[in-house]
Point group: C2
Chain length 201, copies 2
Amino acid sequence: MSKRIAGPEIERLIQLLAKVPGLGPRSARRAALHLIKKKEQLFEPLSAAMNEALEKVRVCSVCGNVDTADPCSICTDPRRDAGTLIVVEDVADLWALERAAAMNVRYHVLGGTLSPLDGVGPEDLNIAGLINRVAEGGVGEIIIAVNATVEGQTTAHYITDQMADMGVKVTRLAHGVPVGGELDYLDEGTLAAALKSRTVF
Amino acid sequence: MSKRIAGPEIERLIQLLAKVPGLGPRSARRAALHLIKKKEQLFEPLSAAMNEALEKVRVCSVCGNVDTADPCSICTDPRRDAGTLIVVEDVADLWALERAAAMNVRYHVLGGTLSPLDGVGPEDLNIAGLINRVAEGGVGEIIIAVNATVEGQTTAHYITDQMADMGVKVTRLAHGVPVGGELDYLDEGTLAAALKSRTVF
Ligand SMILES: [Zn+2]
Ligand SMILES: [Zn+2]
């Protein structure tokens, strides 16, 4: 029994809100109603912020971070050590590490992990970009900060193999990251400690 | 340590997303990243749907429902029994009752409940509008479908008192609604049963 309750514009808004991570069909309805009720305080500013972000957000062509500038503000920050790259799966992991604020270095976002079962090979990740950055020189250390999952570790080994003859030190996060855990859910202290006691791969 | 991670436009988007019910600060960051990654599939359509809804959504001047037409599609539907009004606290409750699809009638949205402690009096709710609709004639029954909370029941009694001399039958939802429960979270079967066995107030 799915009677159309509200106009098609509201139904469509609910449908799309339900696809936002963290919201389901029921919470999407509540979210839509809340937005409609808080039109001036929330709905209009949020809509404007989305338009603004849509127009300005770029993926950094150097590291894969998202920002409103390309290269991103991390890649162009002269106070950061450009000789060390932290390699992460996802921008969310980069943000999590930045919140830990343990190292003032640069990043490389792979955009996922190797997963032969899902048909994700090296060419589907930003690994060629990483090899290029190292080949250009100036990078002394790569810290592989992928999730402690099977796919993450497979990816870490693959990258280590690729770096074998490039004269770059490859390290990984210290144990301290829970096995099977996701970086983005860890507290800042754990992330900082794991970075500090990173080990040679 | 709150370093600015992304551009101010992204920070603002995250800040506003965190105010959407169902999302908190952490899930707002994840939601923002997901939107940025699914730009064509989700971010652009959602932004367009929000612009569209912002432009077209109206609060019905008759019943308080939200729709893209005023009066709303429920108030102008000739197949609905205009002689019965279901009185609800909130549009979310109206939608929940419509999903139960137990009665083909009209509604009246109060916009809250009486709450002397919070300074919410009769003049803050759409009670005058309800009295006017009944005074205009044609309404034979009012079904009070407020939440089974103290404030809800206080509101129900107040409305019943106001209707005392107006020649209208006042009923309420049958027991079956859990005490302290919220209508919007109930399954459709429970709501349909509670409507069916409503009792005289
Ligand atoms: Zn960058
Ligand atoms: Zn209406």
